[in-house]
């Protein structure tokens, strides 16, 4: 089957620094795949390059078999690759409802009603300004907005970073619901507990290269790899 997202030999630069040095990864239909790696490994850069915020110098980005390499971000996003960025990208001066309304799209299987079912907190806060939300609520709003866009693949950049454990649980459950609705997810996350709860497969990125690709089972059975590449005790 054609993967939902395939990155092939992706190279990206910030000015002269060569950050991505040939990234290869795939997200299959219905899968949650994590991209792990130390700070500065190039995880965020990989997501930004995939969605066209950074132009790759070399390589291919394919969305459901369609080559979208080199297209501007708004085209790739319209084609169905949604990024929930690290900074969450909430419009602070727009209300929660307005943040959602500008993301609504004809042809998306998700409507605002569905969103409020998954994220009841957002309905409670719908008249509030985006800037008045807590970190967890902002994260939910950002994910909700991405869903309204009707993604073929959802990319989440550290969605539970800095959040209280109880909110983390809530968001993990929500991510599961979204996957169960059939949206493939590429997840960048430092929180290994969260990753192993959710993921079907893991990639590890080091200095701009994929150094390990393992199924959830293989990964659990290989604490040495986790130590070696992530420098934390599993």
């Amino acid at each position: 089957m054609t993967p939902a997202l395939r990155l092939t030999d992706l190279h990206s630069y910030y000015g002269k620094s060569h950050i991505l040095q040939g990234v290869n990864l795939e997200v299959g239909q219905g899968e949650i795949v994590t991209l792990l790696g130390r700070n500065g490994a190039g995880k965020s850069t990989t997501l930004k390059t995939a969605v066209g915020l950074i132009m790759p110098r070399q390589g291919r980005v394919e969305l459901a078999g369609r080559d979208v390499t080199g297209q501007p971000a708004h085209r790739i996003a319209s084609a169905g690759l949604s990024l929930v960025p690290e900074d969450r990208g909430i419009f602070q001066l727009l209300s929660v409802e307005e943040n959602l309304r500008i993301a609504e799209r004809r042809g998306s299987p998700w409507a605002i009603g569905d969103i409020y079912r998954i994220f009841p907190r957002l309905e409670e806060r719908r008249k509030n300004g985006g800037g008045q939300l807590s970190g967890g609520e902002q994260q939910m709003l950002s994910i909700a907005r991405a869903l309204l866009n009707g993604p073929k693949v959802l990319m989440l950049d550290e969605p539970v970073e800095g959040l209280a454990p109880i909110i983390v649980e809530e968001i993990v459950a929500q991510i599961r619901l979204i996957r169960d609705a059939g949206v493939p997810i590429l997840l960048v996350e430092q929180n290994l507990a969260v990753c192993s709860q959710l993921a079907d497969r893991h990639y590890i990125l080091e200095l701009g290269r994929i150094v390990l690709c393992a199924s959830a089972q293989e990964f659990r059975g290989d604490p040495g790899a986790i130590d070696r590449y992530l420098g934390v005790k599993a």
């Binding site: 915020l53 708004h74 419009f91 307005e98």
Partner: protein
């Protein structure tokens, strides 16, 4: 009685200033673009109205046509030229748009001569309104009413519709708009054309009051900047409040101390810059 007359004049003038400045302000909010050609769009709106009415078109047709033509011309200029310089420092914006304003002004002189002309008040509004011993031109009253309705519509458009949310979102973060699938280049062009169209409309509405002459654009530009600075860059309400304030002060001052009318406005602006650098209603 003379004060009521001047205050009404000031409100009419102020509403035209608002119309003129709100486009400049919204464009600045969205694009961080300093547009010294904004007054030239006002000039163009006035002259197109002048031209069309002297060709025998009714003012009621000439006004919307002039507005639309100015909006289209501005959108084309934005799409071909201006969008290329948004990322450059503000000095480049000034250099290019001052050049553009001069080109438009010279073209106006070539097309219609250096002397200017007058535009009669439209059919049906040539008379005066009389309340007791108070007499006021109908057309001026009409402009106050029309601009008030437009101000309400604009507010609703910006604050109450999805389209407005898109514009406000774009001024907060273009890259986040792109992540939601919006082509920000296209939004920018549309908003720029819209703002210029409002300046053109202000020019069209002003033409029967003050006539047309080739340097009215420069005057309008300085007023628009004063209004935007006093009201706060990017603020709709700021443009409305400051437009009215400047209009009324200027109008009342012309009876009290005509030479000082202009001076007062600039002193007011200097005070605002010194005390509230973001303007009365500007946001952080």
């Amino acid at each position: 009685m003379i004060y009521l007359f001047q205050v009404l004049n000031g409100i009419g003038l102020g509403m035209l200033y608002f119309l003129l400045a709100v486009g400049l302000s919204v464009v600045f909010g969205l694009l961080q673009f300093v547009n010294f050609a904004h007054g030239a769009f006002y000039l163009l709106g006035a002259y197109l109205t002048y031209d069309l009415t002297t060709r025998g078109f009714s003012f009621w047709l000439a006004m919307p046509m002039a507005t639309l033509i100015v909006a289209c011309i501005a959108a084309v200029i934005e799409a071909l030229l201006l969008h290329r310089i948004y990322k450059l420092p503000h000095t480049f914006h000034i250099l290019v748009t001052v050049g553009l304003a001069l080109v438009i002004q010279e073209m106006v002189i070539i097309a219609w001569g250096p002397l200017g002309g007058s535009v009669p008040a439209p059919d049906g509004l040539q008379g005066v309104v009389i309340w007791g011993d108070f007499i006021y031109p109908q057309y001026r009253l009409f402009t106050i009413g029309l601009t008030a309705v437009l101000a309400g519509l604009l507010w609703w458009l910006l604050e109450g519709t999805r389209l407005g949310a898109i514009v406000r979102g774009g001024s907060e973060s273009p890259s986040n708009m792109a992540l939601l699938g919006y082509n920000t280049l296209r939004i920018n062009t549309a908003v720029f054309g819209f703002g210029a169209g409002l300046a053109g409309l202000a020019g069209a509405l002003a033409a029967p009051i003050r006539g047309v002459e080739p340097f009215m654009g420069i005057e309008a530009l300085s007023v628009a900047f004063v209004v935007v600075v006093i009201g706060g860059m990017g603020s709709y309400t700021g443009a409305l409040v400051a437009g009215l304030l400047v209009g009324v002060v200027q109008s009342v001052m012309t009876t009290l101390w005509p030479e000082g009318a202009r001076l007062m406005i600039y002193i007011g602006m200097a005070l605002v810059i010194a005390l509230m650098p973001r303007g009365l209603l500007g946001r952080a």
